[in-house]
Symmetry: C2
Subunit: 523 residues, 2 copies
C-alpha cells in the first residue's frame, strides 16, 4: 500500500511495452508487471473515462521496438552523461534507427536550398543560390495556392510534384505511370497505414482478415496490424540463403493462415528491412504469381530502392516486373511505397514520401483519397523535398556537379559500411548475412543456456536481455531481434550501418569485446 501511495498523484509513466510499465517518482523507479488495476485506481480520485482496462486494447497490444524501452533507456543514458554521470562509455551510439543525419550524414545541398527558397521567397531575389535552385522554387511556389507553401495542398499532394513522381517512375521502370495514382504522404508509414486500414472490419465467409508479413519484418507492419485489429501471418525469410524469400514457405504460411483467417494481402520489403537482402527478379516474379493466384493485395515496401550495394544485386520494382509479366499478372493490386527518409538523401525529419497505386478498384481508390482528405495534406516542405529527389539537377545545370558529387560520396560510403559489416563473421558467436542493400544488418548471436536462464530470471527475452546489457555496458543501442520476429530458438539484433566509417569500426570492435565478456559471464 505504501508503494501505491508513492506513485499516486505525481506519478509519470516513462515507458510502456506490453504489460511492463515503468513509473517514476522523484528518482524512484518502480517496475510493475501485470496487476494494473491496483496502479490505476490510485492514479486519481476522479473516475477516469480512459484507463488501462477501458482503453482501446488494440493500441495496448501494439508494439514498436525501433522506439521501444531500449531506446527510451538510451535517451535517459544520454541525459545522464550530459549531467556528468560516469559510464563505461563516452557516448551512446544509436544504431537502432535508420536516421542518417543523426549519425553525421550531411544533407544534399540542392534540396536544402530549394526548401529554403520556397520558405523565404525573398531568397529568390538574392545572388545566393544557383539559377536552377531558384527556377525549381519558383515552379513549386507557382503550384501552391496563393503562391505560398503556407497554403494547404490537395490531400494527395501538389499536382506538379505528383506528375514529377510519375515521370521518375517511368524513367526507373520504362513503363507508363499515372500521376493520379501517385499519392504523397508525410512519411511512408502514413501511406502504408492508410492502405492497410482499407482491409479492416470486413469478414470474408465469416473469417477476419489476415496479412502475410515477412519474419523478420519492419515492426511498423506488426504495429499497424495490431492497431487495426488485423491478424498477421508470418512467412519466414530463409536465413541460410541470405534471407531469400522461398515460395514454398509463402504457400505454407498462406495455407496455415487460411485455416482461421481470410488472407487478403502480402507485405514484401525489398531491399529488406531488417535483413538487407535484395530480391532477384525471378523471386519477384514468383511472388507476383503467388499473389495473383490467391488474389492478394501486394504492399511493396520499396523505400530502400536506391540503397543497393552488392555488385551482383539490382533493384527491380514490383510494378516493373508485374508490367513485364503481362496478363493476368499485370492486374495484381499493388501499392508501392517510397520515402525521402532513406536512399542517399536521408531526410527523415522533412517527412516526404509517396505511394503508387496500381490496379485498385477505382471506387476503392476514391474512398482512400476521400479518407486521406480529412487529414487535409502532408507538409508542403516535405513535398518540395520529394520534388528535388524525383527530379534532381541534370548534367549541364548549375547544381548538377555538386549534387552528383554529394550523392556519389554518400552511396559509396554506405557501400563501404555495408561491406564492413562482414566483420561480424570473423567474431566468435556472430554470424551475419551479406548486406546487399537497405541500411541494416541482422546478425545472429549465439546465447548460452546460462544466458537464457539469466534472461528468464530478469523477466526479459534473451535477445532483449542481451541488448540491454550491451547498452548499459557499451552505450551501443541496437534493436533486439524479437522486435522484428525470428525463428524460435534463434537470437538476433538489428543494427544500422549508419555510424560513420571510423565509428562503425569502433563499434564492431566494442561488439567483439562485449560478446566475449558476455559469453564468459554466462558460460
Amino acid at each position: 500500500m505504501s508503494q501505491i501511495k508513492l506513485i499516486s498523484r505525481a506519478s509519470r509513466v516513462l515507458s510502456v511495452s506490453g504489460a511492463a510499465v515503468r513509473t517514476e517518482l522523484s528518482g524512484t523507479v518502480l517496475q510493475s508487471q501485470g496487476n494494473h488495476t491496483s496502479i490505476r485506481t490510485m492514479a486519481s480520485d476522479q473516475k477516469k473515462a480512459l484507463t488501462l482496462e477501458t482503453m482501446n486494447p488494440h493500441v495496448k497490444k501494439l508494439q514498436y521496438a525501433v522506439r521501444g524501452p531500449l531506446v527510451i533507456r538510451a535517451a535517459e543514458l544520454e541525459k545522464e552523461i550530459e549531467k556528468g554521470a560516469q559510464k563505461p562509455f563516452k557516448r551512446v551510439i544509436k544504431a537502432n534507427i535508420g536516421d542518417a543525419h543523426a549519425m553525421g550524414q550531411k544533407p544534399i545541398t540542392f534540396i536544402r536550398q530549394v526548401v529554403a527558397c520556397v520558405s523565404d521567397p525573398t531568397l529568390l531575389e538574392c545572388d545566393l543560390y544557383p539559377s536552377d535552385v531558384k527556377e525549381r522554387a519558383k515552379g513549386i511556389l507557382a503550384a501552391c495556392a496563393g503562391q505560398s507553401v503556407g497554403a494547404y495542398t490537395m490531400s494527395h499532394g501538389i499536382e506538379l510534384i505528383r506528375r514529377h513522381v510519375a515521370e521518375y517512375i517511368e524513367q526507373r521502370d520504362g513503363h507508363k505511370a499515372n500521376w493520379q495514382d501517385i499519392c504523397l504522404s508525410g512519411g511512408a508509414s502514413g501511406g502504408i497505414k492508410n492502405c492497410l486500414q482499407l482491409l479492416c472490419n470486413h469478414k470474408i465467409d465469416g473469417k477476419d482478415t489476415a496479412v502475410l508479413i515477412p519474419i523478420p519484418q519492419y515492426p511498423l507492419y506488426s504495429a499497424s496490424l495490431a492497431e487495426y485489429g488485423l491478424e498477421q501471418v508470418g512467412y519466414y525469410l530463409d536465413e541460410d540463403h541470405n534471407w531469400a524469400l522461398d515460395i514454398n514457405e509463402l504457400e505454407r504460411a498462406f495455407t496455415d493462415g487460411s485455416k482461421t483467417h481470410a488472407v487478403r494481402a502480402i507485405v514484401v520489403i525489398n531491399p529488406g528491412n531488417p535483413t538487407g537482402q535484395v530480391l532477384t527478379r525471378s523471386n519477384i516474379e514468383d511472388i507476383i504469381k503467388f499473389a495473383q493466384k490467391h488474389s492478394l493485395f501486394v504492399f511493396a515496401d520499396e523505400v530502400y530502392q536506391d540503397n543497393v550495394y552488392d555488385k551482383d544485386s539490382k533493384f527491380y520494382s514490383f510494378k516493373k516486373v508485374m508490367t513485364e509479366m503481362g496478363a493476368p499478372y499485370n492486374k495484381v493490386e499493388l501499392a508501392s511505397f517510397m520515402s525521402i527518409s532513406k536512399g542517399y538523401v536521408g531526410e527523415c525529419g522533412l517527412r516526404g514520401a509517396w505511394m503508387e497505386l496500381c490496379n485498385l478498384d477505382p471506387e476503392v481508390q476514391a474512398h482512400l483519397y476521400k479518407a486521406i482528405s480529412a487529414m487535409l495534406c502532408s507538409t508542403t516542405l516535405g513535398q518540395t523535398a520529394v520534388d528535388c529527389v524525383v527530379k534532381p539537377p541534370k548534367p549541364g545545370e548549375p547544381s548538377y556537379e555538386l549534387w552528383h558529387k554529394e550523392k556519389t560520396a554518400i552511396l559509396d560510403s554506405l557501400k563501404k559500411r555495408a561491406q564492413m559489416i562482414a566483420t561480424f563473421n570473423t567474431m566468435d558467436g556472430f554470424s551475419c548475412n551479406v548486406v546487399q542493400g537497405a541500411m541494416y544488418a541482422f546478425p545472429r548471436i549465439q546465447l548460452s543456456p546460462k544466458a537464457i536462464e539469466a534472461a528468464a530470471a530478469a523477466k526479459k527475452l534473451p535477445d532483449v536481455f542481451y541488448a540491454f546489457k550491451l547498452l548499459e555496458e557499451t552505450g551501443i543501442c541496437v534493436v533486439p531481434g524479437s522486435g522484428f520476429g525470428q525463428r524460435p530458438g534463434t537470437y538476433h539484433f538489428r543494427t544500422t550501418i549508419l555510424p560513420q566509417p571510423q565509428q562503425l569500426q569502433d563499434m564492431l570492435d566494442v561488439f567483439r569485446g562485449f560478446h566475449q565478456k558476455f559469453t564468459k559471464e554466462y558460460s
Copy 2:
C-alpha cells in the same frame, strides 16, 4: 450494358461521397448511386482483394464535406477556366476551407526566416537575417540530432520546443504546464485522431462507445468517429442565442445517447467552427461540471484561440478554467488542441500543431505515446514554425517591430472581415449570427418548398443543391450546412471570412444577387 463497358478499364473515379460515385471516361461523366456491384465486377478480370463490398465499411461511411464533391467540382471549374472555358464568373472563390495563405494572406516574416535558416544553415553565415532569427535557428538545430532538421525527432516532438509550448501555455493561463504532457503533431487533426482512437474497441457494460459532438461541428470529428467505428451523439448549439452551448441540451443528448451507448467523451470547439461563437467563462465551467459529473474525457478544440474579434468576447482555455475551479473539476481528463494553421499565422502547409494532455491515466498516456512512435515523428520544419509561434520575438529584439506589425495587421483585417459578415442580415433570405471568433460564418438560408422539390428531383439535399447552383453560377465555393450538421428543416452553409476585404465585399454582393435569382426561380 453499354455504360458498363464504357467505364470498364480506363475508368477513373473522380469523387466519392457516401453512396454516390462519379466516374469519368473521355469526358463522359456518369453518375451512379447504389448498384455498385455491376460497376465493380467489370473493373478488371483479376479477382480483387479490395472492392466496394470487401473494403473497410467504416472508411466507406466516412465523409468530409470540407473537401467533398463540391470542392472537387470547384477544382474542375478552375481547370476549365484555365483552358479558356467561358463561365459567368472570372475565377473561383474558395470560401470552403480555412486556408488563409491561399486567400492572399502573407506569411509572418520571422517564421519563414527561421525555417529557411534551419533548412539551409549556411544562411547563418550571411548578413541576410536579423540576429534573433539566427539565434533561434541555432537553438533549434542544436536540439536536433546531428544538428540537422533531416534527423528524426522524438515522436512527440523536439524537447526544446515542447518546453517552449509549455511556457507559452503557462503565460496564457497563469498556471503550470508540464512539457512532458505536450505532444507535437503534423496538424491538429493527427492529435485529435490519436486521442479518439484510444476510445475504440471496448464495450462498457456491453455498450459501444459514443462521443458527444456539437451540431453543427467540424466534420473531422464525424469523419474520425465513422472511421473508428465510434458512435456520434450530437448536441445542438443554440442558433437563436448566437450558437451558445446549452447545458440542458447537453444533458438531453447524454441521456438519449446513453440509452444505447456508453457516452465517454465530449468534443467542444471554442471558438466555434463552423459557428464562430466564443464560449463564456461560465459556459465553460458548466461544461466542465457536466464532464466531471459523467466522467467524460474532454476534447477541447482550441485551434482558433487567437482568433477572437468581438470586443465583449474573450478566449478562456478549458485548462485554465478547470484549474481555477479546483477539485474535483481540476481532475477532468482533457486534451486541448492548437495549430499553427489558424490564428494570425495561417501556416496550414507547414503542418505544425500540438496537444496538451491533462489528467490522463499515466499508463494510458504512455500507450498513446507508444502508438505515436510507430509513425516516427512530425515534420521538423513544422515543429520549427511551432517554436516561432509560441515564442515570438520580444520587444527590443531585432525582429519584434516587424513581427508585431504583421500580426496586428492580419488580426485587424480578420476582425474587419468578421464584421462585414453582418451584411448577410441585410439581405433577404439570410440570417447570420455574429462572428465572435474563428474564421467562419454559418448563415442560415431560407429555401422555398419548390427549391426543396427541385433538389429532391436532382437527388441532392436542399443545401447541397443550393451550394452547387451557387458554385456553377457564381464561382463561389462554400460548404453546405449538412456537411456540419444542422437542425432538421433548417439550411445553412459555411463560408470562411478569409477572402481579402474587397473580395469579401464583392462576394457578399454576388450572394445577394444569386439568392434573389434563386428565390425567384423556385418561387
